[in-house]
């Protein structure tokens, strides 16, 4: 769905970027919410790239085999649960480091996704139905820019739900206690390993649903480069969002918009630097990380025991 902003000039770019933000934010949103839940419990999952790829592949495969894209989304979530369980079990072992386990899970997840994905070279699987929010406009570019995947609304709901869970529920409190001070949490009788296991597996399931968007939305094909590092960029996004689910939503929209800005400028006629424009999301993420992180002071909102057993 390449937009044609030429006819609308600067407004065309604005519409294209807004539409791009709504569409492109979806994988970032789901992965960052999953990572936010994981990290709030005190664990890091750098393997989200592998989870995203497995989610994308299994959603595509199931949608292709059954003809139902929603079953594809469910399959992705289940696969995410499984991969999350492997990661949670592995990092629960003594002497296994979260970061190393995450790198292993990137290789493991992408290897499995490429292996099973080879059998699904169908040109296109059934895609999720879109919801048109541009009915008020008679300009086709605006209308097509505002045709949004239902997963976007599910993701928005999930970010508010996660905020509610963290602030208003017993389990949310346990997750935060496990992440801030596991020893104190244990003293209070909280099963820290159990709480973290659930946080990691549900977090990975969320990330896998983000992967489902990659293959069940236009152009609806499966390819090995489809995630393009978005799984790890979403981990960076969580730091930028200071471990808050609602700020993850805002940050995901920003990342999605930044991604489509490069594409829109390109179609406006800034030609010849195609590959450099493609690299702009990575440069943008790196810049955000450099601006946000700090070597000395602890970051506000960061779980106290992040990455510790």
């Amino acid at each position: 769905m390449q937009l044609q902003p030429e006819g609308l000039g600067v407004w065309g770019i604005a519409v294209a970027v807004a539409g791009g933000a709504l569409r492109g934010s979806i994988p970032y949103l789901f992965v960052s919410l999953g990572e936010c839940l994981t990290e709030t419990s005190g664990k890091i999952n750098l393997g989200m790239e592998g989870v995203l790829l497995m989610g994308a592949m299994s959603a595509f495969a199931v949608s292709d085999l059954t003809g139902s894209p929603w079953l594809g989304v469910v399959a992705a979530a289940l696969v995410g649960l499984l991969l999350g369980a492997v990661h949670a079990w592995l990092t629960n072992q003594p002497a296994v480091n979260d970061v190393a386990a995450g790198i292993a899970m990137i290789l493991f997840g992408s290897g499995l996704a490429f292996f099973f994905g080879k059998r699904f070279v169908a040109p296109m699987a059934p895609q999720l139905p879109l919801i048109g929010l541009g009915f008020w406009s008679r300009i086709p570019a605006v209308e097509s820019a505002l045709r949004i995947s239902p997963l976007f609304f599910i993701g928005v709901a999930a970010s508010f739900l996660l905020h509610w869970i963290f602030t208003r529920t017993r389990w949310g409190l346990q997750v935060r206690a496990a992440g801030d001070d596991p020893q104190a949490a244990r003293a209070l009788g909280i099963n820290v390993s159990g709480v973290r296991f659930l946080a990691i597996t549900v977090g990975a399931a969320l990330a896998a649903v983000g992967g489902a968007h990659l293959t069940l939305y236009f152009p609806g094909i499966w390819s090995e480069g489809i995630s393009g590092g978005q799984g790890l960029m979403a981990v960076a996004l969580v730091i930028f969002a200071r471990w808050s689910p609602r700020r993850c939503l805002a940050a995901a929209l920003l990342f999605g918009g930044a991604q489509s800005l490069g594409l829109s400028l390109q179609s406006l006629g800034v030609k010849g630097y195609y590959h450099i424009f493609n690299a702009s999301p990575y440069v943008f993420t790196l810049g955000v990380m450099i601006a946000t992180c700090s070597p000395s002071r602890r970051l506000a909102g960061m779980p106290g025991a992040l990455g510790r057993k």
Binding site: L46, V86, L90, Q93, P94, A95, V96, N97, V99, A100, A101, G102, I103, A104, M105, I106, L107, F108, G109, S110, G111, L112, F114, F115, G117, K118, R119, G228, G229, L232, M233, V235, A236, G272, Y273, Y274, H275, I276, N278, A279, Y282, V283, T285, L286, M289, I290, C293, S294, P295, S296
Partner: protein, 351 residues
């Protein structure tokens, strides 16, 4: 170190590899392929004959160097997974230097290529190390982002200023002068890049275990506060460790350009960088152990084609095996010190 400790350091990884092969066999069996035949194919294609050993050695050459790209910074406490990007920038630097020195004598041109590869690859990873040390940006994330930036840079260059107009469907740089390429051992398709890789591993082993700098890397990687307390220049150590690691991956890029392809094209990011991460962890961040591990993993890579032909398995089968290997080698960390070989826990490099 005690005999039991040494024995444990060999037995545990070998056991982990055996367990991973077993699980991979179950995976194959679940897909209806006889695992024993798969093992036999891997053996034949990777190690069964002098011809297959040559294939293994060609693949092991870059792995020796990309493995070091993760090993050396890890010694200073920085985990880097941007090996692929350093291979690409090193290869690009080498090609640019090689094309600029076409008119000069072969040794001069090769030296210029080597220097450019070392600088470009080294600077790429040094940047990640510096960002982690001075800005607190995780090097895992920054180096992965830099991979994508390096690949974009390469595509821009080989479709732009470096493009050979005669490369139509598969954009590539202008070729290097044939005399200015890395030679092959006579009668084989193994190139002298293998020696560069072996030398780098041995040198890195000496650097890490036999020099003051190696020791200060270990101190900085083990406990940053202690290192600061005893007055070590921890920032410079981190950046230097990153530079050395990146330089090795850069040389791997130069080898791919100057020995295998003769020009820069898309095969520069064929995945040797990613597999190098696995090599480093399998070698438990020990530079000398990178040598046997590279041979093993090189053999696995070499068997990929055979698995496709003989068993109709997709080429990603080896990636699945790699993933399983990685998980088991991490899991094996929990076993150290629990074997009844000795009393204490062996020292493990913190990853």
């Amino acid at each position: 170190m005690t005999l039991a400790g040494r024995l444990e350091r060999i037995l545990v990884p070998v056991g982990a590899i055996a367990a991973a092969m077993l699980v991979f066999g179950l995976f194959c069996a679940a897909l209806g392929v006889n695992p024993l035949l798969v093992y036999a194919s891997i053996w034949r294609a990777g190690f069964g004959s002098w011809y297959s050993w040559q294939n293994t050695l060609v693949r092991a050459s870059p792995l020796l160097l990309t493995g070091l790209c993760t090993v050396l910074p890890a010694r200073a406490g920085i985990i880097v997974i941007g090996n692929e990007g350093a291979v690409v920038t090193g290869g690009l630097g080498a090609v640019a230097a090689g094309l600029a020195t076409q008119a000069l004598a072969a040794p001069v041109s090769l030296a210029a290529m080597l220097a450019a590869a070392v600088f470009c690859g080294g600077a790429w990873i040094a940047l990640s190390a510096a960002l982690q040390h001075y800005r607190g940006v995780s090097a895992v994330i920054s180096s992965l982002l830099l991979n994508y930036i390096a690949i974009a840079l390469m595509n821009q260059l080989i479709e732009g200023p470096l493009r050979d107009p005669s490369s139509l469907n598969n954009p590539a740089s202008y070729p290097l002068v044939p005399d200015h390429r890395i030679a092959y051992f006579s009668g084989t398709h193994v190139h002298y890049g293998l020696l560069l890789g072996l030398a780098a591993c041995l040198l890195a082993g000496f650097l890490v275990d036999g020099t003051t700098f190696g020791f200060s890397m270990k101190v900085a990687g083990g406990n940053l506060r202690t290192a600061r307390l005893v007055g070590l220049p921890v920032g410079r150590i981190a950046v230097m460790a990153g530079f050395l690691g990146g330089a090795c991956a850069g040389i791997a890029g130069m080898i791919e350009v100057a020995a295998v392809h003769g020009r820069a094209n898309e095969s520069l990011n064929a995945g040797y960088g990613y597999v190098g991460i696995l090599v480093a962890f399998l070698a438990r961040q020990n530079p000398v152990a990178v040598i046997p591990v590279s041979l093993l993993v090189g053999g696995l890579l070499a068997s990929s084609g055979m698995l496709q032909r003989a068993h109709d398995l997709p080429d990603a089968t080896v990636s699945v095996l790699e993933g399983i290997l990685f998980l088991f080698i991490l899991l094996s960390d929990t076993v150290y010190g629990r074997l009844k070989l000795q009393g204490g826990r062996t020292h493990a490099v913190a990853a």
